[in-house]
Amino acid sequence: MQRFLDLTLDGLASGAIYAAVALSLVMIWRATRILNFAQAGMLMLTTFIAWSILDAGGGYWLAFAAALASGFLLGAVVERVVIRPVEGAPPLNAVIVTLGLLVVLQAGAGMVWGNQPESFPAAFSIQGFELFGHTVPFSRADLFAVIAVAIVLVLLVVLFRRTSIGLQMRAAALAPDVSKLLGVRVGRMFTLGWGLAAMVGALAGVLVAPSVFVSPSSFDAILVFGFTAAVVGGLESPPGAVVGGILVGLALSYMSGYFGSSTVTLGALGILVAVLMIRPNGLFATSHTRHV
């Protein structure tokens, strides 16, 4: 029983991070119908930027802010330069372009920082809390991750529901042509959406870096977990992405605890295939339509 509780707490902490990755994928999917495979590379790059600042003697919070800021910038630039030409093109083009971008980012980071994994510190102590005389695998750093992701979710909901910019972003995603006629700068909204999504991804990168280390390809599995979480949540709704992230985090934690840590990526594949086969629109979908 104690073990089950430990695994649950562990799953919650990693689930919060998967939720952040899922959020960044869902935001881009909603706005541009593109699945951003480059997200793994983008959050890797921003985490490396943070690592460089730490390595040069900068403080943790400076590095943290730099990661988020560079994430926003990177997302916006990527959208303007390579994604804009494939918006509205057949889906395969966007898949290939984002994948190419992933490879370019990974190779570029390898050129600058090398392929050896670098360790990355956590914001707070990773020593688990003491509960009833027992050390649980849930630390201040984990608590920070959960709170940070919760804050991001709240901010996003406020942005999309309560502000004019949020309304324009939703309109641009839902009906780009009509929005253009009504004076919404649709292209600018897409750029902003990509920037915000990449910023959320950058947050996930900094949060997960202490446990996976930082190297050009160390975030590939995180992309798969985030995608799985997004699909579980239906790929359409930000709250769904967060719930999906927590569910996937829990499931993978139990799997790792009871069957060994090498089964985790296989477990994600299993969940992904099962959800796509049984409920292709996610666990929370109410109806589904396909245009003919």
């Binding site: 999917w29 593109i34 699945l35 495979f37 390579v82 030409p85 494939v86 889906p91 395969l92 083009n93 966007a94 898949v95 290939i96 372009v97 994948l99 190419g100 971008l101 992933l102 490879v103 370019v104 980012l105 990974q106 190779a107 570029g108 390898g110 050129m111 600058v112 920082w113 090398g114 392929n115 050009p216 390809s217 590939d220 599995a221 992309l223 798969v224 995608f227 799985t228 699909v231 060994g260 090498s262 089964t263 985790v264 990526t265 296989l266 994600a268 594949l269 992904l272 295939v273 796509l276 086969m277 292709p280 003919v292």
Partner: protein
């Protein structure tokens, strides 16, 4: 290009006798191409050094995998980022069947056939799931496959050798070829023969009824279904054929490298296969050959270039990967039909120019007469 395809793809209106003759013609033509290519490859292989023969063998098995992926994506519209993982299935099957330390292994041909068959079987399972997924979903699921599959060998370290993988004793050239016949040349021959067999089988499938079905399903699933085609079955079959190609490629990989290890099948392998298929032109077998040759040569060129320019090892180790990525982006943005498309356009331009010249000559003659 499109016109000839239409003609070849539409034998239904012809009398039945003509249709069979046409199909036989395709088969003989493909066999002829394979024969000529075989002779050329034999001559090239005899002229090359052992290291270059190794590269030739690499190109040959890469071609098989790229051709399978190109056919799946170009003709049937299914995108897969998991073909590196399928190659791993073929490679591990082959490595288990080849001579391990205790006892003799299976003969070479049987090993390759088994690797192909086992991977095709895996293709049935994955293809059945894939047939229900569309575009980005399929790409994401196959990406998960590529990331997850290599970890199986770490789960079963006794059976699959853990992260060190399995090593085999390489198949030796027959003694009739002489004592100092290079091992690499023999492996290049085996791989090239495999590539030619795969070429003939795929070229006939593409030209024939099955290829037409795949294209119909790719272009419009609902219309194809209304025409009486079994969409899901056609998609699964395309995946199985594609997986079988990867199985053969994986088996040949083991012959050439004597190793099946998780590190040999990273996500980067799947990406480089896709890069080759896109670069060559999706759906084109000739393009697949060009793409496979390029992705084998690019690392060599980039190594030479970075050595000549005195670049650091970090840059050198990642230059080839960066070039693949840039090529993927550039091809999609600038030349979506790849090398095959560029050549096809050039050939089309030459042909229309020739035809208009002929017509003008004809008109002039008509005026004189």
């Amino acid at each position: 290009m499109a016109a000839t395809e239409q003609r070849a793809a539409d034998p239904g209106v012809d009398p039945a006798g003509l249709a069979t003759r046409l199909s036989r013609l395709t088969l003989t033509r493909n066999l002829g191409i394979a024969l000529v290519a075989g002779v050329v490859l034999l001559l090239i292989s005899n002229a090359l050094s052992p290291f270059d023969n190794l590269q030739l063998a690499t190109m040959a098995y890469t071609f098989i995998a790229v051709a399978g992926l190109s056919l799946l994506t170009g003709l049937n519209g299914q995108v897969s980022l998991g073909h590196g993982a399928l190659m791993a299935i073929g490679a591990y099957t082959a490595a288990k069947l080849f001579a391990e330390d205790p006892g003799p292994g299976w003969p070479l041909l049987a090993v390759l056939l088994a690797a192909t068959a086992v991977t095709a079987l895996a293709g049935v399972v994955i293809g059945a799931a894939a047939a229900r997924l569309r575009g980005p979903y399929l790409a994401g699921a196959t990406l998960a496959l590529a990331v997850a599959l290599p970890s199986i060998s770490e789960r079963f370290p006794d059976f699959l050798g853990g992260s060190n993988g399995l090593t085999i004793i390489p198949p030796l050239p027959p003694s009739g070829l002489g004592v100092d016949f290079a091992l690499e040349r023999w492996h290049a021959w085996i791989a090239c023969l495999g590539a030619l067999v795969a070429f003939v089988v795929l070229a006939n499938l593409v030209r024939g009824r099955q290829g037409r079905e795949w294209r119909a399903v790719r272009d419009d699933e609902i219309a194809a279904e209304l025409c009486g085609l079994h969409v899901a079955r056609s998609q699964v079959l395309a995946f199985v054929v594609s997986a079988a190609c990867c199985g053969l490629a994986g088996g040949l990989f083991v012959v050439v490298t004597q190793l099946a290890a998780p590190g040999a099948f990273p996500l980067a392998l799947s990406v480089s296969l896709l890069a080759a298929a896109v670069l060559g032109g999706l759906g084109s077998l000739g393009g697949a050959a060009a793409g496979a040759a390029l992705i084998v040569l690019i690392p060599r060129w980039s190594d030479d270039a970075s050595a000549a320019l005195g670049l650091t090892t970090n840059v050198q180790a990642n230059l080839a990967l960066a070039i693949y990525g840039l090529l993927l982006i550039a091809v999609v943005l600038l030349a979506p039909r790849g090398i095959a498309g560029i050549f096809g356009r050039a050939a089309h331009a030459v042909r229309t120019r020739w035809e208009s010249q002929q017509m003008r000559r004809h008109e002039r003659r008509g005026e004189v007469g």
